[in-house]
Amino acid sequence: MELTYADGTEAVKGIDLTVPEGEFFGFLGPNGAGKTTTIKTFATLLSPTGGAITVNGFDVREESRRVRETIGYMAQETSVDEEMTARENIRFAARAYGVPKDERADRIDELLDLVDLADVGDKRAGEFSGGMKKRLDAATALVHSPPLVFLDEPTTGLDPKARNRLWEYFERINERGTTLFLTTQYLEEADQLCDRISVILDGDIVATGSPMELKRRVGGEILDVEVAAAGDASDTAGDIADPRERAAEIARTGDVFDADADVSVTDDGISVTAERARQHGTDLLVTLRDAGITVTGFNIRAPTLDDVFLAITGEELDSEAQSADPEDVTGSEVTAE
């Protein structure tokens, strides 16, 4: 009763992955990383040039029509027929996916309800806002209740409110047992929605894990501290080193953070990445003040996609593999420079 939904393709460089049934899986990466190529290959729009892909038990090359029958696909670009009403758009999809006539009307109403478009069901899609079109697009991908739905950067270009709303629908769909395969360039989105994420970079998966695991790679939260430059720091004792260097030294050697905290010097201060930067941040600020360093500003933030990439790719470049879980790093052997 257990089954594999998707498997690896070499659409770009070489990806090997399995997404189990019911999972909300995320493909996280910057523009041009190969996300769309990969998802299009899974959805039979592109034929893999090597390797094997099985979607819902069907080979994408040999049984592409079977694959198409059992998946939903929502392209990056919103695709609804603007000349037709919301209802007609869904009806077309329902017919195209062979939803039986006696189920069709109910299914259309159910989907219009699901995406909150029931009250505008008979209006032309051309009059809809970007968010509404996207929701309609999502509904048309669900007409045949596919066990697996591909979402290619579904929220790119949407305002935060529309995005949050779309997220709710995805979660609802996932709760109904549908496996979702999402690509995104927003860490926040992957974090919010996904059970598991693969980070893709230049056509390779560089890391796979739950959002928590990935963030742990970065090492928790990031504390940016701005310090006054040497010139105008009147109360600085002595004129020895750059205050940024001194601050970094204090952060590294002091008792405030664990030894594995990552401290780097930035343009106007230091940046500390540590497990509990939020709790211990004030301690550092006090310590710095006691040391005679003027703090002009600080900010605590969650790691961004940039930070994740920096952490992941930085590890590779520095060949400090100590924290890189070899099981997670697949395909790295073909990373040709």
Binding site: D7, E10, P20, G50, G57, R68, E69, D81, V99, D204
Partner: protein, 325 residues
Amino acid sequence: MSDRSVDADARETPSELRADGDLASGASRTSSELRADGGTARSTSERLSGNSFLGDFWVNFVRWNLKAIRNPFVVVGSLVQPIIFLVLFTQVFGQIATGAISGGAAGGITYETFLLPAIAMQVSLAAAAGSGIGLVNDMEEGLFEKTLVMPMSRSAMFLGKTAAEILRIVVQIAIILALGTVLGANVATGFVGAIGIILIGILFSLWFVALSNIFAVVTRDQESTIIGANLLQFPLLFVSTAFLPLSAMPGWIQTVATFNPITYGVDAARALMLDQDVMTVVEVTRFTGIWNTLVPAIAVLLALDVALGGIAVYLLNRASSSDVQ
């Protein structure tokens, strides 16, 4: 989640890039996967191949008709120009043209009657040009890709769309013929001849439907497709027998007209209109009466439809295939 499959282990290592089409050995182990759909209890999965070719055809036929009705401006708009031609040409050139006609094969008829079959073919051209525009529109809005992901027969998709366009051509030619009759034109072969003109119109439209789709697939740009179709349409109309008989035109136009598809469509429609053998570019005498025009015209149009249709089908196939290009 305990349902992770071990299937991944059977896959190739990522570094092994395979040649196109080469299936990985032993990769499709489907013993458990074949039952994949049952696990999710989706009612649709029981009848995976529920779609028939005819069903797919119908879905697309309905969609494109719906879109045509939603855009009355396009349907009406593409009739406006031929109607303007019909009215203006007969009013402005009517006096002079009648002289030219009586010198040609079709003596003793009004210019309205002479011109109407040409206008019917012009309608057919204008409507056919819309085919590629519809396709390119779908491409630009991502709907083309969306329909490719749907489990429909590709041929049924394009046939359904083309059938909707042909329906539009039939309706528009019927409107033009009715209008022409009101303006004083006379279909000598009667109602059956009018049906014949419509059938010629369909046959005549297909090569331009194909050409318009070729423009669409090659340029993938709406404006280029429109410009491409229009750029061809008007010069071709003028260097054919559409507006004046061959004998009234200079030698070089006569030569061009011989190789111009429009001449064959117009001549065939005109033969039905006048109940006469009107073809002058190619002299065929093996048959009787209008068949001396109809047979060669239909042969030329069929050949053209097959040739351009073949190219269009090839290009559409390539555009909708999943092969990495």
